[in-house]
């Protein structure tokens, strides 16, 4: 049996409520708008705020400090299986009626932990790999193509770093745009065409990049391990901006 939910956190909580009430547990939980194999039996879960709140309150009493936040981080994942992974982890937590977030020998815990770590790893990477270009109006604009919806996770870092410098961070893959002007920040989920900004420092940085490595030790594979190819189209030093 497959649960169809609306993709929100309350959707997952409602699904959990439903499962315990009917005492039947789904093999998978998916977002309702993806295409499904017709042979699977599906149950559509209507998100219900009061049911979700009950589950939330229950989890709050079980999970240790900080573990609740991880659910929201996990939801930022670009992995299609994320709802199932989160569901299974929460189910196990409720079954055990205690926080088992570090029981890594348990597959459900392990998978959930991995899901969260992947999101956090990508967020960390983009603190480094985001590239701003200065527009004519003096705003610094960055577009990028993350696997996970990490915009709001990396935003605080850039706000405290740049303070009064106006900037925009634009996630093209998930259509998220965050703008920081005059000390105020706003994030919207909306499809907006990416800007193409020419900035003289891009070529100067490329010069730097091409000079600073030790030619005798060239090792492209190692470079790509740390900085996967799919991230390159965002980086002026890799000179692959033409694709945008």
């Amino acid at each position: 049996m497959i649960y169809l939910i609306d993709g929100s956190v309350d959707g997952i909580f409602t699904a959990l409520y439903n499962a315990y009430q009917t005492k039947t547990f789904p093999t998978a939980v998916v977002n309702g708008d993806i295409q499904l194999d017709l042979c699977d039996e599906t149950v559509e879960i209507q998100t219900n705020k009061s049911k979700a709140d009950k589950v939330f309150r229950k989890l709050k009493t079980i999970l240790l400090h900080g573990e609740l936040d991880k659910i929201y981080t996990a939801l930022k994942s670009g992995d299609e299986c994320k709802y199932t992974v989160i569901f299974n982890y929460l189910k196990k937590t409720v079954n055990e009626n205690k926080c088992i977030s570090d029981k890594f020998s348990d597959t459900d815990v392990f998978n959930f932990d991995k899901l969260v770590s992947r999101v956090l790893l990508e967020a960390h990477r983009f603190k480094g790999f985001i590239r701003f270009s200065k527009t004519e109006s003096g705003i610094y604009y960055a577009k990028y193509f993350p696997d996970n919806d990490v915009n709001t996770l990396i935003l605080p870092h850039f706000i405290s770093r740049y303070k009064s410098m106006p900037f925009i961070i634009h996630d093209i893959n998930h259509d998220v745009i965050s703008a920081h002007f005059n000390g105020k920040t706003k994030t919207v989920y909306k499809k907006i065409n990416p800007l193409y900004v020419k900035d003289e420092f891009q070529s100067l940085f490329k010069t730097y990049y091409d000079t600073v490595y030790i030619k005798e030790r060239k090792n492209e594979r190692l470079m790509k391990n740390f900085m996967p190819k799919r991230y390159h189209k965002n980086l002026p030093e890799k000179d692959e901006l033409s694709g945008i």
Binding site: I100, D102, K103, F104, S105, D106, T107, F110, H124, K127, G128, F129, I130, R131, F132, S133, K134, Y140, A142, H157, F158, S160, R161, Y162, K163, S164, M165, D199, F201, S203, L204, F205, T207, Y208, Y209, T211, V212, Y213, I214, E216, R217, K218, N219, E220, R221, L222, M223, N225, F226, M227, L235, E237
Partner: protein
């Protein structure tokens, strides 16, 4: 703005400085641009697989000294350039605002004399902080022999300083870097350490990220044991944050130097041993004696474990953390995972597989509540471990690099 041509010249000579780390400081943004991130951030990776965190550049490569191994040495016919403090500040700011870098790593050849050079560096970092309002990371290379007052003043503005030891012994220095002495390098290190120690109470605004140093390996005859003992002494005596090793690459054709590169394997092994000393509770004496080199065949932890059959196998369900991290193939992260997971019950080999803990090396050194799955014969273990070590490919690194073992340099999973 600095020209691309000048940038090239000044970076070309700076690139052999290994340190690039931007960690260890949590400087706050006080109304300007920038802050420092405690764990450090990599902004890019170069084509040799190194992290770009800081803008690594020389003030000038115009040198009055004549170190045999260095491209910038006086007797070398080489394009020269000098940047102005404003050129450095501007470039740092513009790169920083675009998120290309985490900060500046400023170094210099000895221009005119040590004091003159140090003044130039000091002027630049003060300008960058005060006039340009930069609160990002600054790593400043100190000039040996410069006035102590200048050096100490620089410590108030930058996050990290380094005086490079260059070579492991006075004898090699005399031969290859005749204008430098051990004393001219160690004295400022010791003063800075003293000042930072005294400053501890004041929230450590003085050199928040401490000091590092660097040695060239393979340009002179010292053995790994000697180098590691020196390293350990530096950590103990001056609380250095890192000792970097730079495997010798012949760029000059000095008759005093070997004609072949020292190779990355040696550097790699030294880093592995260094890591064991800093994070795994090993002392140098346990790993190696003064006149030895580290094993080419196994990483230093494996080599140590093979020498101590009496300590193994270790039971993963009862061993304390200090022992778990001594098991070949088990890193600190895996050890913590084991400790966490076994609170819920005894761990079996399938639990390890589920936790994705690598067993290839560890299997010969551990039991699961008494059950052993590895090889018993010593020479079989050796053979198995040898086949796992990818370091033979090191001489042809560009073709056969192994990501796992290279990553271990950064993450320390041994």
């Amino acid at each position: 703005m600095i020209s691309a041509e000048k940038l090239k010249i000044l970076v070309e000579s700076a690139k052999f400085d290994v340190s690039c780390s931007s960690s260890g400081s949590s400087r706050k943004n006080k109304g300007g641009i920038g802050n420092a991130s405690m764990g450090g951030i990599c902004h890019s990776f170069t084509q040799d697989g190194r992290c770009i965190s800081l803008l690594k550049i020389l003030m000038t490569n115009n040198c009055v000294y004549d170190c045999a191994y260095c491209l910038s040495r006086r007797s070398n016919d080489f394009p020269r350039a000098i940047a102005t403090p404003d050129e450095i500040c501007e470039l740092t700011m513009e790169f920083y605002k675009r998120n290309y870098i985490e900060g500046l790593f400023l170094s210099s050849a000895v221009y005119k004399n040590p004091d003159y050079t140090m003044e130039l560096l000091l002027e630049t970092v003060i300008k960058l902080r005060k006039l340009y309002g930069f609160h990002g990371y600054i790593h400043l290379k100190g000039i040996p022999g410069a006035d102590q007052k200048l050096i100490m003043r620089a410590g108030e503005f930058v996050d990290r300083m380094s005086f490079n030891l260059e070579l492991p012994t006075e004898k090699s220095l005399r031969l290859l870097a005749p204008q430098k002495t051990k004393k001219s390098i160690l004295t400022p290190i010791s003063f800075l350490h003293g000042e930072k120690d005294a400053d501890r109470s004041k929230k450590s605004r003085f050199l928040p990220a401490g000091q590092t140093t660097q040695m060239i390996v393979g340009a002179s005859p010292e053995r790994d044991g000697q180098i590691l003992n020196l390293t350990q002494a530096l950590y103990k005596k001056y609380a250095l944050k890192r000792v970097y090793y730079s495997s010798f690459v012949p760029t000059t054709n000095s008759a005093l130097l070997p004609t072949v590169p020292a190779g990355l394997l040696r550097e790699h092994r030294l880093y592995q041993a260094d890591w064991l000393i800093r994070f795994y509770g090993f002392s140098v004496g346990e790993l190696i004696s003064e006149n030895e080199n580290l094993s080419k065949d196994y990483d230093p932890k494996c080599a140590w474990a093979l020498k101590h059959p009496e300590l193994f196998p270790v039971d993963v369900n009862t061993a304390p953390l200090e022992m778990l991290i001594r098991i070949p193939g088990i890193g600190v992260k895996s050890a913590y995972k084991i400790i966490s997971a076994r609170r819920y019950g005894r761990l079996s080999i399938t639990d390890f597989e589920r936790m994705k803990i690598a067993l290839k090396r560890a299997i010969h050194f551990i039991t699961f509540s008494g059950k052993f799955f590895g090889s018993i014969k010593e020479n079989m273990i050796e053979r198995a471990l040898k086949s796992l070590d990818n370091s033979k490919n090191y001489e042809q690194l560009s073709l056969f690099s192994n990501s796992e073992i290279n990553t271990s340099v950064l993450t320390g999973e041994l």
